[in-house]
């Protein structure tokens, strides 16, 4: 690819989805676009980019932008975070929403492992208020990821990354080497294609928003706006959960880190003491 090709891809990624596409990382971009070029019937990535330039076809532009996103995920990724959610955050939220509902949003859900892990965690948590209802929402930019997520079908390799064996046999059925999540868990989740750079004000309020390992792939210029938009979607005592190693230092002061819980942020500083 030429530097001009890389510039075009970087500009598309940034303007359409806030993505950070580094000009010197040809190999990363090429590895992400190669499967798309094959699917679309182009003999090379260069031919795909040439078509992009010539046709300016929205469908192809979005297919390229989707292919540039990072989709790596796993069940119960960051065990300590999920232990905190199961044992502390979900029970606490259920007490506060007694006889109401706790709304949870996996904002960049990729192929679904994260939202299903949360649904399983809520199912397994022992100290929840009996009257409370959990509502699970999941969104992603990628149609392909959403399709797979909604199918609830995973390979043997995928279910062995993070799922304890007892939870696997309790919540999945296997057909040869494919594992299907139980209909009860799958049907508990509502799915929607959402570009997080778009207006999120129609989403309603959430008690828990997950946006894990997404910020590093975003352009610096959009990180603060995204976090502030998500903070505006949180209830007063709601939580935003990023990846364990992620920080909001220097990004925004709209949210405060929860003491002793890496990657967990709250709107209300008082919640830090309650959740710690």
């Amino acid at each position: 690819m030429t530097p001009e090709d890389m510039d075009l891809l970087a500009a598309l990624g940034r303007t359409r989805a806030g993505l950070k596409v580094e000009a010197d990382k040809h190999y990363v971009v090429e590895s992400r676009l190669a499967p798309l070029a094959r699917r679309e019937g182009y003999p090379s990535i260069e031919a795909l980019v040439a078509a992009l330039r010539a046709k300016r076809e929205e469908r192809l532009i979005w297919a390229v932008v989707e292919a540039l996103t990072v989709n790596d995920t796993a069940f119960f990724r960051d065990r300590a975070t999920f232990a905190f959610l199961r044992e502390t955050a979900l029970p606490e939220l259920s007490r506060r929403r007694k006889d109401g509902s706790v709304r949870i949003w996996s904002a960049a859900c990729s192929t679904g492992q994260e939202i299903y892990s949360l649904a399983i965690a809520a199912d397994e948590a022992r100290n929840l208020e009996p009257g409370v209802r959990f509502e699970f929402f999941a969104s992603d930019l990628s149609e392909r990821c959403l399709e797979k997520a909604q199918s609830g079908l995973y390979t043997q390799f995928e279910v062995q990354r993070g799922l304890p064996i007892r939870l696997l046999i309790k919540h999945f059925e296997n057909h040869d080497e494919t594992w299907a999540i139980s209909p009860r868990i799958r049907q508990a989740v509502r799915w929607r294609r959402i570009n997080l750079m778009s207006d999120l004000s129609g989403m309603g309020a959430f008690d828990l928003v997950m946006l894990r390992n997404v910020l590093p792939g975003l352009d610096l210029s959009v990180r603060a706006r995204l976090i502030e938009n998500l903070a505006a979607r949180l209830t007063e005592d709601g939580l935003l959960v990023l990846g364990e190693a992620e920080s909001l230092a220097g990004v925004t002061e709209a949210l405060h880190p929860v003491a002793g819980r890496p990657g967990v942020f709250a709107r209300d500083p008082a919640y830090r003491a309650a959740a710690a």
């Binding site: 796993a74 065990r79 043997q156 390799f157 062995q160 990354r161 993070g162 304890p164 064996i165 007892r166 696997l168 046999i169 059925e173 296997n174 080497e177």
Partner: protein
């Protein structure tokens, strides 16, 4: 350093498992069947056992039953590592005292994830 006994009749699998486990800090011993593994355990009980199911002389399930009856045999964390991927087989292994379960084929990432899940990392 924690010790792990790798029990599998395939030399290739033992070699792959040894590399993966050494990468996450284990000292490795190897056995080619359940009987040989039992002799290892009687001599020095390991912290963990990575255990195949189908082996000659003594299979993994029988080894596990006998291990749990040995003095100190309830201590090792036992992770099955087998081609048997039916839910009934997994339940049987757990009922016999297995702590975790890996379905072949596996790689270093799966071994590390399962050993972490079993509290070994």
């Amino acid at each position: 350093m924690k010790t792990c006994l790798v029990v599998d009749d395939s030399r290739v699998i033992r070699k792959v498992a040894r590399r993966a486990l050494e990468d996450i800090g284990f000292d490795i011993a190897e056995a080619a069947d359940g009987m040989e593994a039992l002799a290892w355990c009687r001599a020095a009980m390991p912290d963990a056992v990575l255990l195949d199911w189908n082996m000659p002389v003594m299979n993994g399930l029988e080894f596990l039953q006998r291990l749990r009856q040995e003095p100190g045999g309830d201590a090792p964390v036992v992770v099955f590592c087998t081609v048997e991927n039916k839910v009934e087989n997994i339940r049987l292994a757990l009922d016999h005292g297995a702590d975790e379960y890996i379905m072949k084929p596996f790689d270093g990432e799966i071994i590390a994830a399962k050993f972490a899940e079993a509290g070994l990392l």
